[in-house]
């Protein structure tokens, strides 16, 4: 019943968005905003071919690889800095000085350093999302309730066991939330990175179709990128639910 309820709410929201889109299309005309049913028909048609799938695969590979890379580097580093205060004292000023810098401005630098292929895009997205994960994880560990550390000391575990049984699970909920929030940024950075000096990816087809004045194809790209963003977000959300089941129980009380 709960699944049906969620599904129902999503369908209602989707229909409401379609209705708003249709009103907008009537108001602005098809050259600026094509009607949703026309876009959906063109999108289904494009999915029958291989071209759109190729771009979806390129974008999905870049964003997924970048987010995994961001997680496997930023999460352990955040735990390390949060726990090792002495080292954090030297590293954190560097992190906080560079944190406000919009990483997307480094796109030309990354293209020069790592080439026009996937690597530069993946590294730029990983850098952008990794910063958020790093800062939130580090703060989560710094504010970890001392009772848990004390309790673990009474059990006599090793430092490696402390990381496995206390620090990682304690840091997970905050880090997963930051990953979810970062997923939106990741897709935005992906769009920017793909709209420049490349011929693959959803960002490319959006900008390419816009340049050619092909509104239907452009909106097919926008629709695909929105769904990709939704899938990335939902994957993070489901992973969070699976890994942090206890947190949900705590918030229910």
């Amino acid at each position: 019943m709960r699944v049906l309820d969620i599904l129902f709410r999503y369908v209602v929201a989707f229909l409401a968005l379609l209705a708003l889109w249709q009103i907008g299309a009537w108001a602005l005309g098809p050259y600026i905003l094509p009607a949703p049913l026309d876009v959906l028909a063109a999108w289904v048609d494009a999915l029958r071919g291989n071209d759109l799938w190729g771009h979806i695969r390129s974008s999905a590979f870049r964003v997924a690889t970048a987010m995994i890379l961001a997680w496997v580097t930023a999460f352990p580093l955040g735990i390390f800095l949060g726990y090792k205060r002495r080292i954090d004292r030297f590293i954190s000023p560097m992190v906080f000085l560079t944190y406000p810098l919009p990483k997307i401005v480094l796109l030309p630098v990354f293209l020069t350093l790592f080439g026009l292929g996937d690597l530069s895009k993946i590294l730029l997205i990983a850098l952008t999302t990794g910063y958020q994960i790093l800062v939130v994880t580090r703060d989560g560990i710094r504010h970890l309730d001392g009772r848990y550390l004390e309790s673990f000391r009474t059990l006599g575990g090793s430092p490696a066991q402390l990381i496995r049984h206390v620090l990682v699970p304690a840091a997970l909920p905050d880090a997963m939330t930051s990953l979810k929030v970062a997923s939106g940024t990741a897709v935005a950075v992906l769009f920017m990175a793909e709209s420049f000096a490349t011929q693959s990816g959803l960002g490319f087809i959006i900008m390419d179709a816009w340049g050619r004045g092909d509104q239907l194809e452009m909106f097919c790209g926008i629709l695909s990128m929105s769904l990709l963003g939704l899938m990335v977000y939902e994957t993070c959300h489901i992973t969070e639910k699976l890994l942090c089941r206890w947190k949900k129980l705590e918030t229910k009380r």
Partner: protein
């Protein structure tokens, strides 16, 4: 290995900065006996327990534990990890010792049955009542079969009925296992009921101002006996005197993490 040897503490002292909290604490606890430690807030009871557990270093004196003595510590707030199920919390000490999954889960299940928590293995601590959480904490301490159990105000957060029930249950467990245990408490009746020996700490720095033996320890029906009430009176008077000598309570902050 001689686990029949007593726990010997001699001339134990501890300071935090310039504040000397404990001085010249000496006693001998026979194997399989229990000791209740009671005293005014901030007098160093928890610090004493923490030193016996090896979590805090003593500045003076010696703690002589029997050879190969295994100890376990129960904290006031239970110390359960909210991200682990009841079964995983219970089995954690065994996991840290490298004991295999099957063996430790069987041990955890047996412990749950012993504590009357058989159906709660897959629950998380947040889904338990205070009394159930405390029983899980006791189970986690007992699962590695300690020779010495250290408890820092283990029943402080519980209501009177649950507290009494768990005191009886702890006594039952002690009768089956005969481990030594040391208990820090603020509750005079609890100190008398659960202590074969009762030590009252007082003064600044704190010293032992009363050490009495409870002749009816181990008898659950002793709560109504004259000896029990007379011991309560004796401990209460010593505690009141210690409180007067202590003056305003200002040492809590100096006592360190486990205070």
């Amino acid at each position: 290995m001689d686990l029949t040897a007593p726990l010997r503490i001699s001339g134990l002292g501890k300071s935090f900065g310039k504040a000397c909290v404990l001085r010249d604490i000496s006693f001998e606890l026979p194997a399989g006996a229990s000791l209740s430690i009671i005293g005014p807030s901030g007098c160093g009871k928890s610090t004493l327990l923490s030193m016996v557990a090896g979590l805090t270093k003593a500045d003076e004196g010696h703690i002589l534990l029997p050879e190969n003595c295994r100890s376990a510590f129960i904290l006031q707030d239970y110390g359960l990890f909210p991200w682990k199920t009841v079964r995983d919390n219970l089995a954690l000490p065994l996991q840290l010792q490298g004991i295999g999954r099957k063996e430790r889960f069987e041990a955890a299940q047996a412990m749950l049955e012993e504590l009357g928590l058989g159906g709660l293995a897959q629950r998380y601590p947040v889904q338990l009542s205070g009394g159930q959480r405390q029983r899980v904490a006791i189970g986690r301490a007992l699962i590695s079969r300690p020779d010495l159990l250290l408890m820092d105000e283990p029943f402080a957060a519980l209501d009177a009925i649950t507290r009494e029930h768990l005191q009886n249950q702890l006594l039952d467990v002690w009768k089956r296992r005969r481990m030594s245990f040391m208990l820090v408490t603020h509750n005079v009746a609890e100190a008398v009921f659960l202590g074969r020996y009762i030590m009252v700490l007082g003064g600044r720095p704190a010293r032992s101002v009363l050490w009495v033996e409870n002749p009816c320890f181990g008898d659950a029906s002793s709560r109504n006996s004259d000896v029990y009430f007379s011991l309560i009176r004796q401990v209460h008077e010593a505690l009141e005197a210690a409180q007067k000598n202590n003056g305003p309570d200002d040492t809590d902050s100096a006592e360190g993490g486990l205070a």
